[in-house]
Symmetry: C3
Subunit: 320 residues, 3 copies
């Protein structure tokens, strides 16, 4: 009997693609975070470059637009000395009716080394990873509602940086959990890393009850949700959710779930506040909390470059 | 009496611009292909770069959008260590009413070395080549219905790679020959390289009869068109042609001219199948042929990088 | 009592941001021009690069579209060996409702070194400069109607190159002075550099009378405006001005203020003609003047690269 191999790993168990935090071992996640530690200092140097990926070709394939995330990968790859090609997919062959895999075959034939893929359909990066040859690596930069593993990894890096260890932590993820690939990827990573108290917090329309099956506690009330926690991860409320069937309005949401300085006192006094950005000030979080001493939101951005450098350098060093 | 000099060559007969395969000698074409051979291995290396164009500025001027072709030139220039500026012409001064030559003068004043030009008007790259100074080089990346010389050169490279020599070959170009700059450039190159049996194949509306003057055989029937050939070059059927006055529908075209595995048996058993991409599966070619053993379509893409590196390094090494 | 410090300078009086030519001393302007002299030759070399900004990250933040200006900064930064990130702000987080300063904080957290900012609101680059940390530098690439300091500096470089010195010069700025940040920045620079005779020329609707307070002579008549001048700076007539309330039509403007070869004879015989581009031939200037011997418009473009290299290398060498 042969077990189905995790498509992210080669036969030696080494990381060749980063598709999801789901299915990665505690050791693998820790290895990525440890590698990122070495890269944090690179961005502080006079010359912010290391030659690890010199002469390698990184293709940013953003089928869903996200200038911010694309920029972080662009910078991370450039600081590894790779050559980056940013493909404006909306205007490319994809719009001429070429299939996704034909596009991938073509770019692979140009000797691509890494594809960074953002797609509005869950599973697209898996499809690509299964299709490419052994020298080509895929990094998922967000697929549908499914996963956003580099965001989860930078969140883990940030938590570990400020809290040291996951084994005694209480973490609350607040907001539109149902539609968030960030929440999903964070839940898998936190669970694997041993976080004993993980809660998802929001109205019933945005936090499905079956989340309990993932080993998390569902709280529909902010007070009990963040009571005594070490870490509050605030999610972005997507514009399309703000006045739809699931939510009366952005104001209503802020009234019940917006993170204000007063409410933040329900958490531990040294609790940190995180947010994946871009922030809606006054919707999911009060401006004074964003700019206050407990927010570590800009540290997340800084660590995000190092984590993406780590992921790309690790996958590029292994063969499929 | 003084003969009009070929605008692609300097007084010593050296290549300073690549505008068309028309008017280039067999020796020149062979020299470009031989140079490309040296570059094929560069993309296989650990560090996919050579310093030939270090510190040179390559401007991608795409007046007509083509992400795929632009990307191949971007990669080729980067692997030669050049600095590449991709100009989004649709949003630039051109749209503020500046003339083409004023735009060129401006970019030349920024010390451009190579302009890669794609334009929907035939002759635009010639106009630019005649206008620029002796240190500036123009590479035609497709102009109107006129020429697409780097595509033709990569097609020649591919044929030579798989078939060794042109002197005994039968080659068929199938599809919308009338509107294809690829067909036109390939006909000139194949004729010059000594291909003795060259056929263009398609319905009367898409294959003009006067093509016979170019030294090719016109076939309106696929069977006689590809009977016993060594090479089938399938052309892309442009979307705007699929349900217009010239053609009843894409389905109709496929019924008569689509390359299926059954029909491919009319060609030699070891015939190769080429396509410039992007492919319309099920329109000009069946999916099973694209994915079958005789297709060399992805090799074309790979060789295309090497051929573009060859062209840019050759023109940059000569003065006008 | 403590005087308000110029936000462009640090406590030692060194340039840390370039926001405006207003408030910069004659010595500082001359220092920038002298530095640019060293960079003019770089673009003539075989390898057009110096390693001054190697490993530094330059972000082009163009909130207002200008491919031409963005390209010049891209080239200048690349020739200093910096890594350049071009942000398509219209499609980025800014459009997701993120505030300007939140965007800046995020990019700063990615370890940006220089922000090149173009914004349609006057003062935006000041706001950013006051917000960023001591290692981050801001270069204004045009803000509203307020300032365009690198254009003014390249104009000063061009004038000094052709005329040697400002102390005996007569300079006329012709056209839509009221809405021109180029005019405003040039007036400050020319006044500081000691130009004794500075005139602004145009119809009353486009040249406000209070300009006299800036130490310039207002002329509503082209003849008296350029009579005996050494330098004519022609401004671009913006499309939106050509048939609005302020001007009957482009034809009317050319009839009264268009620079023709005949009218240019009113200036000194060796007068130079400048234009910031892109040119409207036949609107503010006749084609024959653009292509004539007195035009130095393409030299402006060439010097513009060197001046931008000078500005970026100077600000990057100081701390805030």
């Amino acid at each position: 009997m042969r077990t189905q191999r995790n498509p992210q790993l080669n036969a030696n168990g080494e990381l060749i693609h980063l598709l999801s935090t789901e299915g990665l071992s505690k050791e693998m996640l820790t290895h990525i975070l440890d590698t990122a530690t070495n890269f944090v200092s690179v961005s502080d140097r006079e010359v912010k470059k290391v030659p690890l990926l010199r002469g390698k070709s990184v293709f940013n394939l953003f089928f869903e637009n996200s200038t911010r995330t694309r920029t972080t990968f662009d910078i991370a790859a450039t600081r590894l000395s790779a050559d980056v090609v940013n493909l404006d997919i909306a205007r490319s062959s994809a719009s001429k009716g070429e299939s996704l895999l034909d596009t991938i075959d073509n770019l692979s034939a140009m000797a691509a080394d890494i594809f960074v893929v953002r797609h509005n359909e869950s599973g697209a990066p898996y499809l690509i990873a299964q299709h490419v040859g052994p020298h080509v690596h895929v990094v998922n930069a967000g697929d549908g509602r499914h996963a956003h593993p580099t965001q989860a990894l930078l969140d883990m890096y940030t938590i570990r940086h400020f809290k040291g260890d996951f084994s005694n932590l209480s973490v609350a993820i607040v907001g539109d959990v149902a539609h968030s690939r960030v929440a999903r990827s964070n839940i898998h990573a936190l669970t694997t890393l041993g976080c004993p108290d993980l809660r998802v917090v929001g109205p019933k329309t945005l936090v499905p009850n079956d989340m309990a099956q993932m080993g998390v506690r569902v709280c529909n009330d902010l007070r009990s949700g963040i009571d005594g926690v070490d870490v509050v991860i605030t999610l972005r409320l997507q514009n399309e959710r703000m006045s739809g069937a699931l939510l009366p309005s952005a104001q209503e949401f802020f009234k019940s779930y917006g993170l204000t300085p007063e409410r933040l006192q329900w958490a531990k006094p040294d609790a940190i506040v995180m947010h994946p950005g871009p922030i809606n000030r006054g919707v999911e979080i009060a401006s004074s909390v964003v700019d206050g001493p407990q927010a570590v939101i800009l540290s997340q951005v800084t660590f995000g470059i190092a984590v993406r450098m780590a992921v790309m350098s690790i996958v590029a060093s292994h063969e499929g």
